[in-house]
Amino acid sequence: MPAVLRALPYYDEITEIAAQGVREQAYSYQIIVWVSITPVEQFELPSGARRFPAILDTGLNDNFAIAPVHLRAWAGIHWKSLPEEGAERFYGNIRVPTRRAYLWLHPNQYGWRDWIDPLHPAVRIELNDGISIYGNGEEVGRDPRTKTLRAPRLPIIGLRALTGVDGQLHIDCARRLISLDLPD
C-alpha cells in the first residue's frame, strides 16, 4: 500500500500557507494537505494543474467541502460547470446537491507540509458521492436556504473520502506527524 503522505507535520501554533498567490492561515492542530480538483472528463491530472491547501478533518463526515469562491480562485472551476452527482447531503436540514469531480491528493516531501514531492504524481481520490460546494451567499441547489450556509474557511477533506478509498491514516500526536497510505 503506497504512502501518499509521509511524516507530514501539523503544528501547535498558527502557520502561514500559500496557494496561487493567496495567503491563508492554518490554525493550531489543523492538518493541511495539498489537493487539486478537476472535472471527471480529465482522466489524468494535467501537468501544471492548480493545487491548493485543504484541511484533513477526521471529524467531517462528508467527502470534501469547498466554498464556491475557493473553487473558482484556486481550482479555476465554477461550481455550475460541475454536473450534479445525483446524491445529496443535508447540512442541518438544508439539502445540498453533491457535484461530480475528481479530488487529487499531492504527496508531500517527507517531513514537510507545503513541499510537494516532485517524484510522485498526485493520487486520484475516487469519491463515491462527489463533492459539496456551498457558502459565500450563493444558492447552490434547489433549496434557496443554501444561500445561508456558511462556507468552510478552507476546503475540507473528511473521513468519508478516505474510507471510500480504503485509506490507512496514522496520526502521531506525540510527534505531530501524519501518514496516509492508499491502495494501488
Binding site: 467531517l60 447531503r89 439539502r95 463515491n128 434547489r142 475540507i156 471510500g164
Partner: protein, 104 residues
C-alpha cells in the same frame, strides 16, 4: 410520479430518500431512477461485489468495474452518455447523507 407497492397502494417514487430528511417534491430524473435502482440492488451487490464500482444509466445497471475512472471512461467515452443520464457508485454499505455542520 408514483409506483405501486406490493399491496397495490401507490407510493412516492422518491422513497429512496431517507425518511428523516426534509420534505421534497423533485421530479424523477434519470439520475434519481438510477439511484433507486442502485439502492434496490445494493443488498445483492454487497453480497457478491462489495468494494467494486457499478454504473447505472436511466435506472438500468450497465456494468461493474474496479475503479470509478474505469466506469466514467465507459459511460462518457465509450457510450457517449451525458452526465445527467448515469451514476457511478462504489458498492459499500449505505451511509447517511446527514452532515455534521459546525462553524469553523
Amino acid at each position: 410520479m408514483t409506483n405501486k407497492d406490493d399491496s397495490g397502494q401507490e407510493s412516492d417514487t422518491n422513497e429512496f430518500i431517507e425518511s428523516d430528511t426534509p420534505e421534497r417534491s423533485d421530479p424523477v430524473t434519470p439520475l434519481a431512477r438510477s439511484q433507486v435502482a442502485y439502492k434496490a440492488e445494493l443488498p445483492e451487490l454487497l453480497a457478491h461485489h462489495r468494494g467494486k464500482w457499478v454504473a447505472y444509466a436511466d435506472g438500468n445497471r450497465l456494468r461493474l468495474g474496479n475503479s470509478q475512472v474505469e466506469l466514467y471512461r465507459h459511460c462518457l467515452s465509450d457510450l457517449g452518455l451525458t452526465h445527467d443520464r448515469f451514476i457511478v457508485r462504489r458498492i459499500m454499505p449505505e451511509s447517511s447523507p446527514q452532515i455534521e455542520y459546525t462553524l469553523r
